[in-house]
């Protein structure tokens, strides 16, 4: 077979195009598959929590107190400086666009327990310039306080307000000499001025095969914690047998705190 110069140029051009297109096609097809299945290929573990608002007792702050005590969360008595790991917000602020004028009295304005959603697609991780916030293999979105430079990009990125900045030294004292951390838990570090902090899903307890403290102390069994990748886990069972919603699902962050309302 004889090829002239023109034909050779055409064929080599087509060949180069094919080689260049391959990596692009790989990315596109993989991304499509992941999106279509709704979650990533199984990594073995995906920790999540279910909050059953039907069981959660109004006025009870057991989980909040327990969490903030063991994690040395300071109380600055000032909403501007407030540090929150787990707290409550009124229903309509937790689930905006899901409220309407005729909603039952038990819902509108009533407190809903909120914490870091440990998103599957966490915006805070994407914006962090130092990779201080990262997602663990088991799905926990964790902070490495050693790396945090306090730029607060993550606070701007988090659509749930789950992050707090240490404007003041948490080990300090207020003007009347009371320490901001009432009783320090010696087995857990504090934070320092100038870092952002948030719920860590009790990684220090999970390392010892314990449930998060909030789940452990809840007397109403309103909180269920477990592995979503395990089809027989309690969370999967609860999610199978109840209708559940998540916070602001339209943002695509795929939050992993599920609410039974």
């Amino acid at each position: 077979m004889k090829i002239d110069r023109r034909a050779f140029m055409k064929m080599s051009g087509l060949g180069a195009l094919g080689i260049a297109a391959k990596p692009v096609m790989d990315v596109v097809t993989k991304a499509d598959l992941a999106e279509a299945s709704g979650r990533k290929a199984s990594s073995g573990k995906r920790l999540a929590m279910v909050v059953n608002l039907n069981k959660c007792k109004e006025g009870c702050t057991d989980c909040i107190d327990a969490c903030h005590t063991i994690h040395n969360v300071p109380d600055f008595k000032n909403p501007k400086d407030e540090i929150k790991w787990i707290w409550t917000e009124p229903y309509e602020r937790v689930f905006p666009n899901q409220e309407h004028g005729y909603i039952g009295k038990g819902m509108m304005g009533s407190p809903v327990l909120v914490l870091c959603n440990h998103c599957d697609n966490p915006p805070c991780v994407r914006v962090c310039p130092t990779k201080a916030t990262f997602k663990r293999k088991d799905g926990i979105v964790l902070m490495d306080y050693h790396r945090c430079i306090g730029c607060r990009f993550c606070m701007a990125a988090c659509p749930y307000g789950s992050r707090s900045f240490n404007w003041r030294n948490p080990r300090g004292r207020d003007s009347s000499g009371r320490p901001f951390i009432k009783k320090i838990n010696l087995s857990f570090p504090t934070r320092t001025t100038g870092v952002v902090e948030k719920c860590n899903f009790c990684t220090e307890r999970i390392a010892k095969n314990l449930e998060p403290k909030c789940v452990e102390v809840c007397k109403e069994d309103a909180l269920v914690f477990g592995d979503l990748e395990d089809a027989h886990s309690e969370v999967r069972e609860v999610l199978r047998s109840n209708y559940s919603i998540r916070r602001k699902p339209g943002l695509g962050t795929r939050p992993q705190i599920y609410y039974i309302v």
């Binding site: 490495d144 050693h146 010696l186 087995s187 570090p189 504090t190 934070r191 320092t192 390392a207």
Partner: protein, 128 residues
């Protein structure tokens, strides 16, 4: 040179004064001073040999930190195959419970200020 003698004497005095920090240490014998660390433990051996610990404990602590925080791997195996919990406050300060006489003495001498204790709690600091 006008007033040559006075100028030279002035220069000599100036030179003596400006080098004060250098010769003072030599004269007073403080140049040879090295901090003496108190070891208050019955254990014969740290997690790694003393020489390595003296020279590279900061790198080891960095490895521990990254391993625990980022990889959730909390057990350290040393060269002899002995296992330790990677914990500054429990493992390190468990033996070296005298931070002021152990950590601080040397750190002050070489003038380094590690920020460990801004967050991590020294066990005896419980009263805060």
């Amino acid at each position: 040179m006008y007033n040559g003698g006075k100028v030279i004497i002035g220069l000599v005095i100036f030179a003596i004064l400006i080098t004060f920090p250098i010769w003072y240490n030599v004269v007073s014998g403080k140049a040879a001073y090295t901090p003496e660390l108190k070891i208050v433990t019955d254990e014969k051996q740290c997690v790694e040999p003393s020489k390595y610990m003296r020279e590279s404990h900061m790198q080891l602590l960095d490895q521990w930190r990254n391993s625990v925080v980022r990889d959730a791997e909390r057990t350290f195996m040393n060269h002899d195959g002995k296992k330790f919990d990677m914990s500054l406050t429990n493992t390190c300060l468990g033996c070296h419970s005298n931070k002021a006489d152990f950590c601080d003495k040397c750190h002050n001498y070489v003038e380094v200020t590690p920020t460990c204790w801004n967050c991590h709690i020294v066990p005896e600091e419980s009263k805060l």
